[in-house]
Amino acid sequence: MTPNDLPEIFRDHNPLEDKMLQVIDNEGNIISGELMPQLDDNTIIDAYQKMLYERTADEMAISFQRQGRMYTYTPNLGQEAIHIAAGMNIRKEDWLVPAFREMGTLLAKGVTMKEMFLFYNGNEHGSSFQNAHHVLPIAISIGTQLQHATGIGYSVKYRKKDETVFTFIGDGGTSEGDFSEALNFAGVWQVPVIFTVQNNQYAISVPVKAQTNSVNLAVKSVAFGIPGIKVDGNDFFAMYLAYQTASEYARSGRGAVLIEALTYRLGAHTTSDDPTKYRKKEEEELWGLTDPLVRLKRYMERSGIWQIDEETLKDTYRQEIEQQFLDAEKSKTYPLDDVFAYMYTDMPDELRRQKAEYEQFLSWKETRE
């Protein structure tokens, strides 16, 4: 990797100097006009709508969970700019290897809210992503997914496909050995993988400064010989530019890229978590000022392209999302078969035997009732 191969924005935002790529400020003012990606008004409006959709879906999911109609849920609140920017740059043929907090990108790939609800309702069919192409299930064992992404990268390169791999991890996840191994392999293999670290400042209760002593997370790329960049993750345009550039870089065969997206988890870690135990109201308020939706909205207002009747739109979204939730609730069947059927492509006799044994118990139970 000679500096010349490196896209300009990577050179200009060297993580060793702790620089951060930013296009608009919290007020929606353009900071660096030359960096503003070329997007027409409709695309920007579309982006905002998608962010709003993700936020609405999150709010509703939290409320369904509170109503006891769903199990533990991991909200995406505050991280929507990252997800939608990635979603707008990921192509059908590209791969998405998610962690568990990038709903907007999953939706962009064709995953449905019904599937999301099914999953958080405790049904594996919510992970089969029927209409989504090249999307792996949500990864819970932190760090492991990056290695899958690197492997897909190898496979793409080996088969000479024009496919890029988008994969995600949190700030906490960068401490796992699997993170380093995945990036190291990607560096050696020079594969088209875009690694995004969503640095939302916390791993459950543990602040990022307790995760590592490195100046930032993008700088970890140095250890693996791949380019890294720190980006304002609450700035939709900055994230868009980062993904655009990274995609070009990856597609040109130059290899993998690490993007640190600086953001903030506005909500709880999961619906079982209570952030007041470990963080201050003032901190939340301060970060609240960087809310990616607010910033993009302000930008649109300032530049006169704001044409959204937000409340009406949200209502439409709510209805649509509710419908998907109801569909998921309705399809809430879980036959005994489902426990056994997918463990192997050809079910071993042993599993048949175990299932039959359970069925005998069920018959006995019936006769007793």
Partner: protein
């Protein structure tokens, strides 16, 4: 005496030992400020300071690996792994080093440390949060693997685990973390590791279980008693070393054994107990010892878990079958 949940009882054990021994430190993911996602370490950082009770980066291998380093240099670390499903990044450190340092160095360096984590199903959780991997740890020579089934046992076993000079895998049945309240002494007491407990005596059939399954077995026993069957219930408590003597005595008496556990049945505690019943009581067996356990499948997500988890009527069904063999 206070009414304690298992969470509180373990917290009390940790508290007592932290106060008593300056060489004890507790760490892991979210155990400090937050007090653990299940609040087992709640209040301990405040009381003993962030040098003794603290959060780490998110890396289980290093949590365990550094604990071994601390242990060989005079500390007695207690580490929390957040869920059983996240013990596996640390599996290599546990198997290759924690379990072996004492033997490898011919006793020069030991590994007096405790690795504790919640395990087991029945809580409608996401994947990796409902597993019962005790057999994987029990097959590793050099470890002690223990599981309490009551708040009282949890406290006494935790103190014994901390005082053990051998590494202890301390598995906490999360399903009954708060489901059972029991009067437990506020003082220090220990329950020796390696000894099973006869929960209730009986003459027709021996039921061996541990952790959250004890409660389910007790419900089944009520049903059995109604049918006139006398059940002896053994709480294994220690998965390794396993208490052959208690098993032997009971199975020789009843001639029948049923093992109830949540884990996948193949290559499991159930297999081991059946082997032991054969080795120790072959001529006394009147019916084939039986394992009533989870399938060799991933534990299903919440909607399907009812098929996987062992219910009291299922246990009763097997008790009856065994008695009428």
């Amino acid at each position: 005496m206070s009414a304690m949940t298992m969470v509180k009882a373990i917290n009390s054990a940790l508290d007592i030992k932290l106060k008593e021994d300056k060489n004890i430190v507790i760490y892991g993911e979210d155990v400090g400020v937050e007090g653990g996602v299940f609040r087992v370490t709640e209040g301990l950082q405040k009381k003993y300071g962030a040098e003794r009770v603290f959060d780490t980066p998110l890396a289980e291998s290093a949590i365990v690996g550094t604990a071994l380093g601390m242990a060989v240099s005079g500390l007695r670390p207690i580490v929390e792994l957040q869920f059983e499903g996240f013990t596996f990044p640390a599996f290599n450190q546990i198997l290759s080093n924690v379990a072996r340092m004492q033997n490898r160095s011919r006793g020069r360096y030991g590994a007096p440390l405790v690795i504790r984590f919640p395990y087991g199903g029945g809580v409608n959780a996401l994947e990796h949060h409902s597993d019962s991997p005790e057999a994987l740890f029990a097959h590793i020579p050099g470890l002690k693997v223990v599981i309490p089934s009551t708040p009282h046992d949890a406290k006494g076993m935790m103190i014994a685990a901390i005082e053990s000079n051998d590494p202890v895998i301390f598995m906490e049945p999360k399903r009954i973390y708060r489901a059972i309240k029991q009067e437990v002494s506020d003082e220090k007491f220990t329950i020796p590791l390696g000894k099973a407990r006869v929960v209730q005596e009986g003459s027709d059939v021996t039921v061996v279980a541990f952790g959250a399954m004890i409660r389910e077995c007790q419900k089944a026993i009520v049903m059995a008693e109604e049918s006139g069957i006398s059940v002896e219930l053994i709480d294994l408590r220690s998965i390794y070393p396993i208490d052959r003597e208690t098993i032997r005595n009971s199975v020789r008496k009843t001639g029948r054994m049923i093992v109830v556990a949540e884990a996948h049945q193949s290559f499991s505690v159930g297999s081991e107990l059946i082997a032991i019943a054969n080795e120790e009581a072959f001529l006394y067996l009147e019916a084939p010892p039986k394992r009533v356990m989870g399938y060799d499948t991933v534990v299903p997500l919440a909607q399907g878990e009812k098929y996987y988890i062992i219910s009291p009527d299922r246990i009763f069904y097997e008790i009856e079958k065994s008695v009428h063999f």
